[in-house]
C-alpha cells in the first residue's frame, strides 16, 4: 500500500515508523495547502492509495474550512484519506485562556462531521494525547532544531494508529465474540462461590468489561458463550442483579461439559460463519491453547493484570478484531437476523425444503445503481468469502465509480422474510460491453444461502442486460469459495475456459 503524508508541520519522521508501507515523497510542510489545491500536484496524480493529512492545530495558519474543502476535492480522486482530530498543546499562551477548550471542541466537531459526510477516516490524535499526555508525545528540542514536533514515541503512537486504521479498513472485522464465564465475565466460579460482579471494588472491573461487550453487541457483533458449566449455573450468573449482559444478549449459549474446541466448531457451524470469524476469550490458558491449536478461531492472550481488563479488551481485542469505521443498518440488526436464522433452521427441520421456502414469505427488493446503501455494498465485497464468484474487494470509492460509470450496473438485493429483515445481502456488478455483459462481481451473504436469492438476482441481471446477447460469468477459485464452483453451470451457463462461462440471453 502506498501512502502520502501531508501536514503543516514536519512529519517526515513518521515514515520510519510505517515500515510496512511504501511512503511516497511527501510534499514539504510549507507547501501542503498549495499541493492540496493544485489538481496537477503529485497528491492527485501519484499512484498512492492513501493520503494521511495531519493538522497541527497550534501552528495552523489556514482556515480549517478551506482545508476540509480541499480534502473533499482530493477525495474525488478515489484515494483513502486519513485526517486527525486535534488537540492544543498547553505550552502556548492561548491555552491559558478558556477559549482553546471551546475552539478544540468546535474544530473536532467540524472534522468529525466532515469525515462522516465524506467517508474520510479519522486518526484520533485527541485520544492519543488524552491517553499518553503531552509530555510523552512532544519534544521541544527537535521542534526548535527542525520543526519536528513529536518525540520518537509520539511518532510511533501516531504511526501505530494509522496502521490500525488501514489494517481494519482493508480486512473484514470478526463477526462473533465467544466468551468464557467464570473468571472471565465475572470473578470467581458461579457454581462454587459468591461471584465478583458489582458496581464497586473488584466486581466493578467485570461490570465495566460487560458494559463494553454490550456496547460491542449494539454495534452488530454477535455474542456467544462457551463455558464448562451447567446451563442452570450459567444462567444464574447472567441473571445476577449486577450483570449487564443478560441471556438474550447472547445468540448461542454453550454451557456444557463438551471440549471447548468442539463448542467453537458448533457455534461457527450453527451460525454458518467461518471459524476464523470468531474471537474466543477465556482466562484459562489450557482452554485457550486447545481452541487455538485445533480451530481457526482467534484466541488472544488474556490480560495478566485483572485491573487492566477493560483497557486490554478495548486495545487488544476490539481495535484489532472488531474495529468498524461505519456502522451500517445491517450491523445494528445483526443479532435479530441471526436469531431469526436459528429459528428458520429449527423450522426447516420440520418440513420439506420447498414447503420451508414458501413458508418464509420471502420478499426481495432490487436496488439498481442506487447509492443509498453504498457503505454496505463495499462491506459485502470486503467480507463475503464463500458465495463470492470473483472475490474482488472494493472500497466505497470503487463502488461509487461503478455506479457513476454508464458502462456498469450495480445491483443490490434487500431481503426480508416473515422472521426478519436481513437488509442488503447480495450484490452484482455488471460491465456492459457491445454485445456482452460481463459479471464482474456476484456475491451473496451466507445468511441467505439456499433461499434461491441468487436465481432471482441472475434473472434481474438478464432483464437489465437485454441489449446484450451474451452474459459472461467468471469463477475465480479461492480457498473459501468452493461452494460456488459449479454455480454458473447449474444455472445453464456454458463453460468456455478454465474459469469463464457464457449464457446466450438474446
Amino acid at each position: 500500500m502506498q501512502l502520502e503524508i501531508i501536514s503543516n508541520i514536519n512529519m517526515d519522521s513518521l515514515k520510519y515508523h510505517l515500515k510496512d508501507y511504501e511512503i511516497l515523497q511527501n510534499c514539504s510542510y510549507g507547501n501542503y495547502m498549495i499541493d492540496l489545491l493544485d489538481t496537477n500536484s503529485s497528491l492527485y496524480t501519484s499512484n498512492s492509495d492513501v493520503v494521511v493529512c495531519f493538522l497541527d492545530i497550534d501552528t495552523l495558519k489556514e482556515d480549517i474550512t478551506d482545508i476540509l474543502n480541499a480534502l473533499k476535492n482530493l477525495k474525488k480522486s478515489g484515494k483513502i484519506i486519513i485526517l486527525n482530530s486535534v488537540s492544543f498543546y498547553p505550552k502556548y499562551i492561548d491555552t491559558y485562556t478558556n477559549n482553546t477548550i471551546l475552539k478544540e471542541f468546535e474544530i473536532n466537531q467540524q472534522i468529525i462531521n466532515f469525515a462522516k459526510e465524506n467517508n474520510i477516516l479519522i486518526l484520533d490524535f485527541y485520544s492519543i494525547v488524552k491517553e499518553y499526555g503531552a509530555i510523552e508525545l512532544y519534544d521541544e528540542k527537535y521542534w526548535y532544531l527542525g520543526k519536528i514536533k513529536f518525540s520518537a514515541k509520539g511518532f510511533k503512537l501516531i504511526a501505530s494508529k494509522i496502521d490500525t486504521i488501514l489494517t481494519s479498513y482493508k480486512q473484514s472485522a470478526k463477526k462473533c465474540l465467544v466468551l468464557d464465564l467464570d473468571n472471565t465475565l465475572w470473578g470467581g466460579v458461579i457454581a462454587e462461590d459468591e461471584i465478583q460482579l458489582s458496581n464497586e471494588g473488584v466486581g466493578s472491573i467485570y461490570q465495566e468489561f460487560q458494559s463494553s461487550i454490550k456496547k460491542l453487541k449494539d454495534f452488530g457483533i454477535l455474542l456467544a458463550i462457551n463455558s464448562k458449566n451447567n446451563l442452570d449455573d450459567a444462567l444464574e450468573g447472567l441473571n445476577h442483579p449486577s450483570s449487564i449482559l443478560k441471556k438474550d444478549d447472547f445468540i448461542i449459549i454453550k454451557a456444557n461439559w463438551e471440549n471447548k474446541n468442539q463448542n467453537i466448531q458448533n457455534i461457527a457451524h450453527e451460525l454458518n460463519i467461518a471459524e476464523d470469524a470468531l474471537v474466543f476469550i477465556d482466562d484459562n490458558q489450557v482452554e485457550r491453547e486447545l481452541v487455538s491449536n485445533t480451530t481457526q478461531a482467534v484466541v488472544p492472550d488474556f490480560v495478566s493484570d485483572i485491573y487492566q481488563l477493560n483497557k486490554w479488551f478495548i486495545q487488544d481485542v476490539v481495535y484489532p478484531y472488531f474495529y468498524k469505521f461505519q456502522i451500517t443498518n445491517e450491523d445494528l440488526a445483526k443479532q435479530i437476523q441471526y436469531k431469526a436464522k436459528l429459528q428458520r433452521d429449527k423450522i426447516s427441520k420440520q418440513m420439506n425444503y420447498a414447503e420451508f421456502l414458501k413458508s418464509l414469505e420471502i420478499n426481495l427488493t432490487f436496488y439498481i445503481n442506487d447509492k443509498k446503501y453504498i457503505q454496505r455494498y463495499a462491506q459485502l465485497t470486503q467480507k463475503t468469502n464463500q458465495f463470492n464468484l470473483t472475490t474482488k474487494r472494493y472500497t466505497v470509492e470503487d463502488i461509487e465509480k461503478f455506479i457513476d460509470d454508464k458502462n456498469y450496473n450495480v445491483i443490490a438485493v434487500e431481503y426480508q422474510d416473515k422472521f426478519a429483515k436481513e437488509g442488503i445481502i447480495a450484490l452484482a456488478i455488471i460491465e456492459k460491453k457491445d454485445k456482452e455483459s460481463i459479471i464482474d462481481t456476484f456475491l451473496l451473504s451466507c445468511r441467505v444461502l439456499k433461499r434461491d436469492v441468487e436465481k432471482q438476482l441472475i434473472k434481474q441481471i438478464e432483464k437489465l442486460c437485454q441489449k446484450s446477447t451474451i452474459l459472461v460469468g467468471e469463477y475465480q477459485e479461492t480457498q473459501r469459495n468452493i461452494i460456488v464452483k459449479d454455480f454458473y453451470k447449474e444455472l445453464g451457463f456454458k463453460k468456455i475456459d478454465d474459469n469463464k462461462y457464457i449464457k446466450d440471453i438474446k
Binding site: 517526515d12 519522521s13 520510519y16 527537535y142 526548535y144 532544531l145 527542525g146 518525540s151 520518537a152 514515541k153
Partner: protein
C-alpha cells in the same frame, strides 16, 4: 556500540550504512535525516544529547565518539 549505531542508521535511512557513512552519503542523510537519526538513537539508547552535539556529530564515527565520550 558501532554495530548498534549502524543498525539504527540503516533502519532510519533504509539502506546499507557503514562506519564511513556520513551526512550526504547516503543521499537522504541530510540535515533533517540527521535529526531523525538522533531521535532514533535517543529512543533506542534511552539517552539524550545536547543540540550542539546533535548538529556536529554528522558521521557514524563522530556519533560513536560522542556516545563513548
Amino acid at each position: 556500540m558501532q554495530e548498534k549505531i549502524i543498525k539504527i542508521a540503516s533502519e532510519v535511512f533504509g539502506c546499507d550504512i557503514s562506519i564511513d557513512s556520513k551526512i550526504g552519503n547516503p543521499e537522504n542523510w541530510d540535515s533533517l535525516g540527521q535529526l531523525n537519526l538522533f531521535m532514533a538513537i535517543e529512543n533506542e539508547l534511552n539517552q539524550k544529547f545536547n543540540p550542539d552535539d546533535i548538529i556536529k556529530s554528522d558521521s557514524i564515527k563522530k556519533i560513536i565518539e560522542l556516545i563513548e565520550k
